[in-house]
C-alpha cells in the first residue's frame, strides 16, 4: 500500500518536473525556427549579423531547456515498467505502440537534427541549416502528439477489447482519432507557444533594460514575441474551452469536479469560489454566477450538467462499490489557478505588446523591471493544468478499465521507492538550480550587436 502511494508521489513529482521543460521546448523550438527563417530571408547586412546572434542566443536557451526535457523524459519512459509494471502488462498492447512510435518517428528526428543544427553552421547552406531547426521543432511537437495519444487512451479509452485479462488494441486508427487527443494536443501545443513566447518576453525585458548595446535587437524580438505569445494564449483559451465542452460527454466526472458541481443541474451555475466539503458531498459556502456553467458547456441557457454525486452513483452501479470521485478541492482550485494565471498572462502580453509597438518601451522602466519576475507564470499554469488532467481521472489509471491501485509493481518495497523518490527529487532540485544559473548567466553576459564574431 505504501509503495503505491510513494510511487504515485514519485510519478507526480517527476512528471510535473518533466512538464516544466516540455512546453518550453515546444514553444522555443518554433520561436527559434521563426527567428532563423527571418535571418535567412533578411536582406540588410547589419541586421543579418544581429539576427544570427539572436538565433544563437535563443537557440542556446532552447538547448539548455531541451537537455533537461530529454533526460527527465527518459525517466518517465522507464517509470511505466519500473513502478507500474501491472499497468504495462495490462496496457502494453495499446500503450507501448505510441511510445515506440514516438521514439522512432520523433525522438530520432529531433535529436539527430539538433546535433546537426548546433555544429553545422559552417557545414550547411543557410536554408538547409534553417530546415534543421524546423525539423527539430516538428519532431518535438510530433512527440507531444504521440505521448498525448497514449495519455488520451488513459482518459477516454477507445479502439480496444479486453482479452485474456488485458486490454488489446482493436483499432489503431480509433486510437489516433480519439476526440480526446485533439483537445489535449491543441491545448498543449498552444500552451507551448505561450510558454516559449512569454519566457522570450521576460528575457527581452531584462536585456532591453540592462544591456544597452543589445537594446534595439531585443526590442525587435519582443515585438515578435508578444504576437507569438498572444497567438498561443488565444489558442489555449479556444482549445481549452472546446475541450471542456467535449468533457461533458467524454469524462463528465472530471468536468463536474472542475466546478465542484455536486448535484445535477439545469441550468448549472458557475462557482467563483466555494468552500468544498468533500465528506458531505456538497459546498458549505459558494458564490455563483447563475446559468454560467451551462452557457460555457452548451452555448445556451438550457442544458443539463451532471453532478458529482449522481456520477458517483452511476459509477457504483457500473463498476461496483468504491469511491470514484477525484480530489475535488484540488481540481477546483487548480482549475481556477490555471484560468487566473492564463488571464493574467494575457493582460501582461497585451500591455507589453501595446508598449513595444506604439511607444519607446525603454521609458517604462518599472514594467520592464517587473516582467522577468513574471516568467514563472506559464510554468504555474502548465503544472496545475497537467495536475487537472491526471488527478481528474483518479481513482482510475485507465478510466473504467484499471485502477491506479492495481497498476503498481508488486515486487517493490516502500523502502526502495523512498530511496528513489528522495534520489530523484534531490537530483532534480540540484539540476534545476544549475541549469537556471547557467541560463541566467548566459543571458547576462551575451550581447547582440552589429559587430562580427
Amino acid at each position: 500500500m505504501e509503495a503505491l502511494l510513494l510511487s504515485r508521489w514519485q510519478f507526480a513529482i517527476t512528471t510535473v518536473y518533466h512538464f516544466l521543460f516540455v512546453p518550453l521546448t515546444l514553444g522555443l523550438s518554433i520561436f527559434t525556427a521563426i527567428l532563423e527563417t527571418w535571418y535567412v530571408n533578411c536582406g540588410s547586412y547589419e541586421w543579418r549579423i544581429k539576427i544570427k546572434k539572436l538565433v544563437k542566443f535563443f537557440g542556446t536557451l532552447f538547448l539548455i531547456n531541451f537537455a533537461m526535457g530529454v533526460v527527465t523524459g527518459i525517466v518517465q519512459e522507464f517509470h511505466f515498467g519500473m513502478n507500474w509494471s501491472e499497468y504495462a502488462r495490462f496496457m502494453g498492447d495499446i500503450f507501448g505502440a505510441p511510445l515506440a512510435l514516438e521514439a522512432l518517428t520523433a525522438f530520432f528526428l529531433e535529436s539527430t537534427f539538433l546535433g546537426i543544427w548546433i555544429f553545422g553552421w559552417d557545414k550547411l547552406s543557410e536554408k538547409r541549416h534553417c530546415l534543421c531547426i524546423w525539423l527539430v521543432a516538428f519532431g518535438s511537437n510530433l512527440s507531444a502528439f504521440w505521448i498525448l495519444v497514449a495519455n488520451s487512451f488513459m482518459q477516454h479509452p477507445v479502439g480496444y477489447a479486453i482479452e485474456g485479462g488485458r486490454a488489446v488494441m482493436s483499432d489503431f486508427l480509433a486510437l489516433l482519432t480519439n476526440p480526446y487527443v485533439l483537445g489535449e494536443y491543441c491545448h498543449a501545443l498552444f500552451a507551448g507557444l505561450s510558454t516559449g513566447g512569454f519566457v522570450a518576453i521576460a528575457v527581452c525585458a531584462w536585456k532591453i533594460l540592462n544591456d544597452e548595446q543589445s537594446r534595439e535587437s531585443f526590442i525587435s524580438v519582443m515585438k515578435i514575441a508578444t504576437v507569438y505569445t498572444m497567438v498561443g494564449l488565444l489558442g489555449v483559451l479556444g482549445s481549452g474551452h472546446l475541450h471542456a465542452q467535449r468533457l461533458n460527454d467524454l469524462n463528465p466526472m472530471k468536468l463536474a469536479s472542475f466546478e465542484a458541481l455536486w448535484e445535477t443541474e439545469n441550468p448549472a451555475p458557475f462557482a467563483v469560489v466555494a468552500d468544498i466539503n468533500e465528506e458531505a458531498g456538497r459546498n458549505d459556502f459558494e458564490i455563483t454566477v447563475p446559468y454560467m456553467f451551462t452557457i460555457m458547456v452548451h452555448n445556451s441557457l438550457e442544458g443539463k450538467i451532471k453532478g458529482i454525486n449522481d456520477l458517483q452513483a452511476e459509477a457504483m452501479k457500473k463498476y461496483g462499490s468504491g469511491n470514484y470521485i477525484p480530489d475535488v478541492k484540488g481540481m477546483f482550485w487548480s482549475f481556477r489557478m490555471m484560468i487566473g494565471v492564463g488571464g493574467l498572462m494575457m493582460l501582461v502580453t497585451l500591455l507589453t505588446g501595446v508598449l513595444v509597438y506604439f511607444t519607446r518601451i525603454i521609458n517604462f522602466k518599472c514594467w520592464l523591471r517587473l516582467l522577468p519576475f513574471l516568467a514563472p507564470l506559464p510554468f504555474i499554469a502548465n503544472s496545475v493544468g497537467w495536475y487537472i488532467v491526471e488527478a481528474g481521472r483518479q481513482p482510475w489509471i485507465v478510466v473504467g478499465l484499471q485502477k491506479t491501485a492495481q497498476a503498481v509493481s508488486p515486487n517493490l518495497t516502500a523502502g526502495e521507492v523512498w530511496l528513489t523518490l528522495i534520489g530523484f527529487t534531490a537530483v532534480y532540485l540540484l539540476l534545476a538550480m544549475l541549469a537556471l544559473f547557467a541560463a541566467i548567466s548566459f543571458i547576462r553576459r551575451t550581447h547582440v550587436t552589429e559587430e562580427e564574431g
Binding site: 542556446t60 538547448l63 539548455i64 531541451f66 537537455a67 533537461m68 530529454v70 533526460v71 527527465t72 527518459i74 525517466v75 519512459e77 522507464f78 511505466f80 515498467g81 519500473m82 513502478n83 509494471s85 504495462a88 502488462r89 496496457m91 502494453g92 500503450f95 507501448g96 505502440a97 511510445l99 515506440a100 512510435l101 514516438e102 521514439a103 522512432l104 525522438f107 530520432f108 528526428l109 535529436s111 539527430t112 539538433l114 546535433g115 546537426i116 548546433i118 555544429f119 553545422g120 557545414k123 488489446v168 488494441m169 482493436s170 489503431f172 509493481s409 515486487n411 517493490l412 530511496l419 528513489t420 534520489g423 537530483v427 544549475l434 544559473f437 547557467a438 548567466s441 548566459f442 553576459r445
Partner: protein
Amino acid sequence: MDLNVLWFVLIIVLFTGFFVLEGFDYGVGMLLIGRKEYDRSMMIRAIGPVWDGNEVWMITAGGAMFAAFPHVYATMFSTFYFALFLMLLGLIFRGVAFELRGKYPSSDWRLGWDGAIVFGSLVPALLWGVAVTNLLQGLPIDAYMHYAGNFGDLLSPYTILGGLTFIFVFIFHGASFLMLRLGDEGLLLDLKRKSIKFGVIAAILYVGLMAMSIVSTDIMSKGFFGLSSFACGALCFVMAINAMYQGRAIAAFALTSMAIASTVVQFFVALFPRLMVSSLNPEWSLTIYNAASTPHTLMIMTVAAVIFVPLVLFYQAWTYRLFKARVMPSDLKHY
C-alpha cells in the same frame, strides 16, 4: 517467420544499434578520466553532434520492447528497479552535462560537468553488463512473471565480470572511434598507446566472460551456435588490437563495432525463444510468445519499423558523413 520472431530480430537490431553507437559515447565519456581540459573538450567535441541521436537507440529499443513484448518490459524494468534508478541518474547527469559544460566560462564548471559525464558513462556501462549477464543466467521469476529477489541478488562474480567487461569493451570502442575523429597528432599518439592497453584488458575480460558464461549459463545447450558469435567477437577484438597497433583506425573501429554486434547477437541467440529466463522453473520464463503483444499490434509496429528504421539509418549515416572531418583545435569555439 512469424511476427513474434520478426520482432525478436528487430529488438536485436535496435539493441545492436544502441550498443554499437552509444557504446563509443560511453567509452569516450570514461576516457575523460584524468585528462586535461583541452583533451576533454576535443574528445567531447568528437561525439558532440551525434551522442544525442545515439542515445535514442536505447529509448527506441525500450519503447519497442514495451510495444512488442509488454510483459518483458514490465518484468525487466521492475526487476532491475534500483539498477535502473542508478542508470537513470547517470544518464540524467551525462545528458545535462553535455549541454551545460560549455555554457559558463569557468574551468571548474567544466571539470565538474566532465566528472558528471564520466559518472554518467561508467554507471550505465557497468549496469548494462550486469543486466545482460543476469538475463543470460536467469532470474528468480515466479509463475506470475514477478521478480522474487532483490538488488543484491543481481550481483555475483559472474555478473560483476559482465559489468567490468562492458566497461573496458566500451572504452576500447570509444578509443577506436576517437582515433578516427580527432585531428590533434599529440592527442592521437597518446590515445593510441593507451587504447592498445585497454584493448588487451577488454579482450582478456571478454574471453573470461565467455568462459564463465559456459559454466554459469545454459549457453552451450544451443550447440555450435551457443558460442560461435562469442568466439567471433573475441577474434574481432584481437584483430582490432592488431589494427590499432598498425595504425589502421578505420579497421580497428569496424572490428570493435563488429565485436559488439556479435556479442549482442550472441546474447539473444542464447536466449531464444526466451527473453527472460526464470531460474525457478523453466516453464515460467518469458518467451517471445507468452510475453508478446497481439498480432494486430505487432503488425502495426512492423509497418512502422519497416518505414522508419531505414529512414533513421539513412539520416544518421548522413550526419556521420557531414561531420567526417577530423576535429581540430579550431573547432572548439563552439564550446
